[in-house]
């Protein structure tokens, strides 16, 4: 296998991480909604925590994306 095709395959494999982060982000918002509907009065106070969880889950997906871009475009 030459380097160019290995690069493309590697970038594709790195993109799996983005999908995994999508599951994580969906999980964060899904669980929030689930419990917010049970107790709407407490929901607004937890929005900060919601976005912290979102940021943490999203960051890992973005790192996977950065890795894919580095593999593709770095010389």
């Amino acid at each position: 296998m030459d380097l160019a095709s290995a690069k493309v395959i590697g970038a594709g494999l790195a993109a799996i991480g983005v999908g995994a982060a999508a599951i994580g982000v969906g999980n964060v918002f899904g669980s929030f909604l689930e419990s917010a509907i049970r107790n709407p009065a407490a929901a607004d106070g937890q929005q900060g925590r919601l976005f912290i969880g979102f940021a943490a889950a999203e960051l890992l997906g973005l790192i996977a994306f950065a890795v894919a871009m580095i593999i593709l475009y770095a010389q």
Binding site: G48, I52, A55, I63, F65, M69
Partner: protein, 257 residues
């Protein structure tokens, strides 16, 4: 696949000098600097329009007060009454990121201008993250002295685990400015690349002709509209997340645990 014009999604992030060249002096007026100035001018206009201190606020003043009140209440809930001191920096960061992100999404290419997203550069977001981190360090050591290191030892840690926990907490503390900057700039780059790639699908679909070409173009176009709406949301969320995490880190420095 037939030979076609190559898609170059990274071209939009290139920094090019507008006056002089990059070979000699590092102080060159680039397109990045130009768009930063445009962002500054927009924020200035926005704030000046709303700071008339009318007794009965107009729409503009309500908008400005909404943003300032939003940042102030974010700091008060996360840091406590001492948090008001840090409103200037958090507000600056929030407004700059929000305006730069939104300005980068605007379709200026229709009128021939070349838009540039300032926040898609790691240097820009990195400097903002380092300033946030610097504030945390200075405030932490100023207020608590070397007691600040107790931040790295959670309450009730067993003695045996102490060195390991200390190392892990220290590492997660030191990686904060990096993650803060990386999140913003990669989110911007990812969105713009996505829009660029699907935008080129529209063009090459029309060029391909036939039945399938325009069908693909239409599909890509509809997809871009959805992605654009999502990106506008991401612009606001990233600005909010940056400000929120900054205020949380400041909370660590002010109140320890």
């Amino acid at each position: 696949m037939a030979a076609e014009s190559k898609i170059d999604p990274m071209h939009q992030f290139q920094i090019s000098p507008l006056a002089g060249n990059l070979d000699g002096s590092p102080f060159v007026f680039t397109n990045s600097a130009l768009w930063m100035l445009i962002v500054l001018a927009l924020i200035w206009a926005f704030m000046l329009g709303g700071m008339k201190r009318q007794l009965v606020p107009g729409r503009w003043q309500v908008a400005v007060e909404g943003v300032t009140g939003f940042v102030t209440s974010m700091l008060e809930t996360n840091v406590g009454p001492q948090g008001r001191k840090y409103v200037p920096w958090v507000f600056t960061v929030f407004m700059f990121i929000l305006f730069a992100n939104l300005l980068g999404m605007m379709p200026f290419a229709i009128v021939g201008a070349h838009p540039f997203t300032v926040t898609s550069q790691f240097t820009v977001t990195g400097v903002m993250a380092i300033i946030s981190f610097g504030i945390v360090l200075v405030v932490g050591f100023w207020k608590h002295g070397f007691h600040f290191f107790s931040l790295f030892i959670p309450h009730g840690t067993p003695k045996v685990l102490l060195p390991l926990i200390f190392l892990i907490e220290l590492l997660s503390f030191l990686v904060r400015p990096f993650s803060l900057a990386l999140r913003l700039f990669v989110a911007m780059i990812a969105g713009h690349i996505l829009v660029e790639v699907f935008g080129s699908f529209v063009v090459s679909g029309i060029n391909a002709g036939g039945v399938m070409g325009p069908a693909v173009s239409l599909l890509s176009f509809v997809f871009i509209i959805g992605v654009m709406a999502l990106e506008l949301l991401v612009c606001a969320i990233q600005a909010y997340v940056f400000a929120l995490l900054t205020s949380l880190y400041i909370n660590d420095a002010v109140n320890l645990h």
